[in-house]
Symmetry: C2
Subunit: 772 residues, 2 copies
């Protein structure tokens, strides 16, 4: 175990690193030529067009105003200054709610840290257990529960503290849940009109021999929601088109690149290129001509593919975005069961148009359940057996293996430096590469599972990542060994000794986790604000590729908060904080500093940098809440285990009430607040509808919604080729005809088709009457 001076040294190093990052950031950000790296958000919002300073030519690139260097930390108060409502306006609710996670961390851990230091540190410190034992120990251990003699009555302090911490955490969690739920409802109810408020995603439209999907959807909703149905947009399978468009974009980039090269060389020499693999083989051709012809070819293919999509019914997926006349109608449809067969006509709130994950819209119900099973099994193996392929790669990546596989490398291999590099670094690299790719692997799993919105994908990936981290980082660090070895041990251990095994080794790992917090938390967060990678990429692109303002905008790459990797990382700190709060309170200040620093840094980034790709109105909060509750219960169970090794067994019955109460608290919160995140109250919808009707009696909702849910490939395509959005425009001009229900025989309802017709007529009359 590290002594306190070692910890102090590590702290000093990490503080210095973090400080160096911050200073570097402070200097770089005020250089005008970095302005687009550190303030892309403002450029994207159109509020900033060029660096604020103006003056001499040099000043366009380097900041010569030395006074500004003195105020190098003034971004911090600036980041904190923007009030929350304005921030919601500026960056969306998701970002603000994400920040609240850090804020929740501060609210939970600052009072806990204070209480722990005033009460528990003296209780722990004033013992001589460690000094009397012959173990080596450090000052940090003297502050921890290890310093209390076995069977001491002082453990009641820890017991009381465990209760206090639990109640405080629950109190804060409840308050935060309440606030976030209110913010969400307010945000949804706020004045902005959004297409997803009126729209429902319908999946698994059953196949019908007589009607196309388009007709079927229209008839179904005309019949079953006669007063509310407005229009719909079927989903096209545009995956091929999307591929073609992407290809065209790449080729276009190359064309630009060669064009620029040609222009820079003062049109002296047409650039040449090879047509083969990676431009290394094949015959040389004029690059500009080549790409121009390629692009033209692609354009033809694209328009052909488009034609096919519009005309052929094979490209229509059994899913549709159905829009309603009012938010009330959409809320009703999204929350109700439509058909007798619960696996068809599945309705759910349409995600925001930006948030839709188009590829998954057509997966049938049975396939979904099978996919879920496959992924559950795959994730189990990934979590517990991921070390096996890595160990295999590691065993391959040794000197002998490489030499055997590639004898010509022998010469290089015998150089001492290369040898030691491969032996020392390669095994670590295999693991590191895996860990870097892990979020992507988890994301792929979620995609395979069939979620229809990016936000849902990210939420699912986040919970998987959390489980992985819990098992492999948290438990893996406490009980050294691979996850599978742990699993094996746990299966062969009595249920009550598992918390004991883990609990007993917790105090010993405190110093390790303190170092972890400093390296991963402090330095990591400080590194985040520096944006080293985007900085380098931006300047490279700017130098080589950027031609127009639009190119420069693309080169900025503002990035976004990635919930699927960021949130599980934060949750690890919640877990560490709650587990160590009673055991080794010295860890708490490190957690508090992490949360404080991260809050300021991410607030700054959200204001100035990140550009969120979608807006889910904070729908991830129940997950965040649930994971903090999990951490709380884990901490309680481990404390029970730890105390039972300390011969304070009389405390067990008292401690057992804690998880029971916590689980109950969780269920209470679930019932009380979760519906706000998954359902949409009719009252709200009605108020909003009524208000809107009063303010804009002539609003044409239909026109507003028309193109909202067109596949992005139909409008995201750049307009260089001059072609218009084929489908969306045609669709928009085509008023859906009043199709008579063709099959009265099926349902034996002579009254129905008549009714739906008359309703439509009546409704159109109403519309006309109210808005001449």
């Amino acid at each position: 175990m590290a002594t306190s001076s070692e910890i102090g040294l590590a702290a000093a190093i990490n503080i210095l690193t973090a400080f160096a990052f911050l200073v570097a950031f402070a200097i770089l950000r005020i250089q005008p030529f970095n302005d687009r790296v550190y303030f892309p958000k403002w450029y994207l919002k159109g509020l900033r067009n060029n660096p604020l300073q103006s003056g001499a030519f040099v000043q366009k690139f380097v900041n010569l105003d030395f006074r500004s260097y003195l105020r190098f930390l003034n971004w911090m108060p600036a980041a904190l200054r923007m009030p929350e409502p304005e921030l919601i306006d500026h960056a969306g609710l998701d970002s603000v709610v994400y920040l609240r996670i850090y804020l929740t961390g501060l609210k939970i851990f600052v009072p806990i840290a204070c209480l722990a230091f005033t009460v528990m540190v003296p209780v722990n410190w004033t013992n001589r257990t460690l000094e009397e034992s012959k173990l080596t120990f450090s000052d940090i251990d003297k502050l921890s529960i290890s310093n209390i003699p076995k069977g001491s009555n002082r453990f009641f302090t820890h017991l009381v503290m465990a209760y206090a911490f639990t109640f405080w955490t629950c109190y804060i969690l409840k308050r935060e849940y309440e606030i976030v739920a209110k913010m969400r409802l307010h945000f949804i109810a706020s004045e902005q009109r959004r297409p997803d408020q009126f729209t429902v995603l319908v999946r698994n439209v059953p196949p019908d021999p007589d009607e196309t999907v388009n007709e079927l959807v229209e008839h179904f909703f005309l019949v079953n929601h006669p007063d509310q149905y407005l229009s719909h947009q079927v989903v096209y399978n545009a995956n091929i088109l999307s591929k073609l468009v992407n290809e065209k974009k790449t080729k276009r980039n190359w064309l630009d690149y060669y064009q620029l090269k040609y222009d820079r060389s003062n049109k002296s020499k047409r650039p040449l290129m090879k047509t083969g693999y990676l431009g290394l083989f094949g015959k040389s051709v004029d690059a500009i001509d080549f790409y121009q012809s390629e692009i033209e070819k692609l354009l033809k293919e694209i328009s052909k593919e488009r034609e096919k999509i519009i005309t052929s019914s094979k490209y229509v997926m059994p899913a549709a975005f159905v829009s309603f006349k009012s938010r009330w109608g959409a809320a009703v449809c999204a929350q109700t069961e439509q058909s007798r067969n619960p696996t068809v006509w599945l309705t759910e709130w349409a995600p925001e148009p930006r948030d839709v994950y188009w590829d998954n819209l057509a997966i049938p119900f049975v396939s979904l359940t099978v996919r879920r099973l496959i992924i559950a099994v795959a994730f189990f193996f990934l979590t517990f057996f991921f070390m096996i392929p890595i160990a295999f790669v590691q065993s391959l990546a040794n000197i002998d293996g490489i030499v055997k596989a590639a004898p010509f490398m022998r010469g290089i291999m015998e150089v001492e430096f290369v040898k030691s590099f491969i032996q020392g670094v390669m095994p670590g690299i295999a693991l590191k590469i895996f860990l870097i790719f892990l979020p992507s692997i988890l994301m792929m799993m979620s995609k395979f599972e069939g979620f229809t919105s990016i936000s849902a994908l990210e939420r699912r990936s986040a919970s998987r990542y959390y489980i992985f981290q819990f098992i492999n980082v948290f438990l893996g660090s406490i009980i050294t060994g691979t996850a599978f070895q742990q699993l094996n041990t746990f299966i062969h251990q009595p249920a009550n000794t598992i918390p004991v095994t883990i609990g007993a080794s917790i105090p010993m790992k405190a110093t390790f986790f303190i170092t972890y917090i400093m390296v991963d938390g402090w330095a990591g967060v400080a590194g985040e604000i520096l944006r080293l990678k985007p900085l380098i990429f931006y300047h490279l692109k700017n130098f080589f590729l950027v031609k127009t303002e639009k190119d420069r905008e693309e080169a900025m790459n503002p990035g976004s908060l990635s919930f699927n990797t960021g949130e599980p990382q934060i949750q690890l700190y919640f877990l560490l904080g709650l587990v160590y709060a009673v055991v080794t309170p010295i860890l708490l200040p490190f957690i508090v500093v992490f949360f404080g620093l991260a809050y300021v840094v991410y607030r700054h980034q959200i204001i100035n940098v990140y550009n969120q790709q979608y807006e889910s109105a904070g729908s991830f909060w129940p997950d965040v809440h649930g994971r903090i509750i999990t951490a709380l219960i884990v901490s309680q169970l481990l404390l029970m285990g730890l105390l039972s090794t300390k011969e304070a067994a009389q405390s067990t019955p008292l401690l057992i009430a804690l998880p029971v109460l916590t689980i109950w608290f969780h269920r209470f919160c679930k019932g009380r607040y979760e519906p706000a995140f998954i359902r949409f109250p009719l009252q709200e919808a009605m108020i909003k509808d009524t208000l809107e009707r009063a303010r804009e009696p002539c609003l044409n909702v239909k026109a507003y919604l028309e193109n909202a849910y067109v596949h992005p490939v139909f409008y995201n395509e750049d307009r260089w080729d001059g072609s218009d959005d084929g489908i969306s425009d045609e669709e928009s001009q085509k008023e859906p005809p009043l199709v008579a229900t063709k099959r009265p025989s099926r349902t034996n309802t002579p009254a129905r088709s008549q009714r739906s017709e008359s309703t439509r007529t009546l409704l159109s009359v109403t519309d006309e009457r109210s808005c001449p």
Copy 2:
């Protein structure tokens, strides 16, 4: 362990007992004076007024047609003859679905038994393990898995069989789920109009300083469901009134009794009674006069209480039954979230009027969650520690204890017979009494938990009873010891040895369970058909009390299927069958006989006897399905444990796939079929509405629904006193006035109140227009 001849003897005894019951039943049922005991259902339906035979006076009481005695088993084919649709008409869907549980048992276990006997019995029999060992064993053990030597390859037969049985069970379960779901939807969609189709129960109406609950409900639904809201019925707290009415009924009974006595004595002597405790103390009065005055007093109180209920707002509970113009409107309201605060304005399908549990309608949300916690903890203690109070009672109920408490009993206590009776029987009786009261205790727990319908109460009690039986009967018999001792053992055992411990002792308990099935199953079911208790009570009542036809009807006491005790009992047989299918297949025929016998008996009872109190349209099937799945998983885990003691460890990985697949199957079924049991598809509602509108365009839904959800105390009361239903009539005559929304300021919607008014006007116009 019992030998096969012992089992044979037990079987013979039980078969004889069952047969004796059946013969007794066959003889008693054809006696005209028992007709109302064995065919009450037909009397209640008004299809039978007196015994079928007619003739001499004696023949009114005793059946002298001796040929009918020869056909004493002809009730069996008669019971099976009624086709299912007719049975649904006759007894309701609940009863038919309940019968399907037995049918499912037959469908699962008949093929399994056949397969087990053709494949596994030879495999088990042709070993000499038991003969070579020095253990005592019976022929039954030779047929079981115990006869296979350790590490034998023959275990692969059992493995394959486990797969076959699992797949067969799942196949049947899926088919049954499908059929029941279809039956339910068909039943709901069938022609009968029922008030609950149009009605939604609203709970937790928030308190409002300005408006009464009545006004508030009306305004809320007028605003939020403007096109669909029809009317509502607030819930009165009629608990006091209900108590008074019951009291009056009891007194009335006594009055009848004395009146009858007086009449029988030829009006010679007015009967006397004492007014004190139990009629034993106090002064003597004329009984008829006394009760007449008492009843009059009560009548006054009742009418006063009624007055209070109608006038005082304190008696109005924050709950209401809200009716809609169409099924579609009700389906929408029941399935959606109404208010921003998810703990108020909770809507759910109104249970059938008969099914409402009135006392629980006013429990607020927070109280509900607290109650749930309390009951969860209480149930845990009940399950694991119920032996403690019983042991305490048992320790009191010994000779010394009684003598100490009541010295005057010493004389009696010293009689040898009394002494041995107390010592031998009392401890057993304490346990038996507890077990008899257990369902009532569980029911009280469910009531305390706050469910609003009797069917939900019964479902919850059933699942608790199942858990209790699983732990205390199934596990308790396999591992002898109290539940708490088991729990203690399990906590201190490794997780993987728990199935091993249980699994290893399973084969040894086969004979015990065979006896259990015969005693509890065979004889129990045969006893059920005899209806000994109702028979005796009926004749007693008939002799002493019955005066009018209505009294006789009340004396019949047809009883009903009690789901909360019956279903868990059946589930125990499913569990035994599935667990022993692979281990000791000889148990299967006993199970099959039980299911067959029970099916016939209960079908007969449902046709002729039981009178269901409510109709939930088979909404308990997901529970039934879930518990059979649980039994399947338990059987798989125990087989894994058992095989691992047989040194057939290579089978474990193959077996582990089974529970995973079974759980996945359960999730699949849950998604595929469960919504049919908890939600009501809009398509169905719309079809039904449209049909109805076409057939009965002038139907006055409002009049139809008016008194549907009035507290039963207002109309169940007998009309002896000549008073009418105070409230319901007044309510019915009082057209709910068109209340203007008083508080436009609150919501800032000048348009709203105007809108709701105009809507109402418009709607009434529509109503008038369509049906002049």
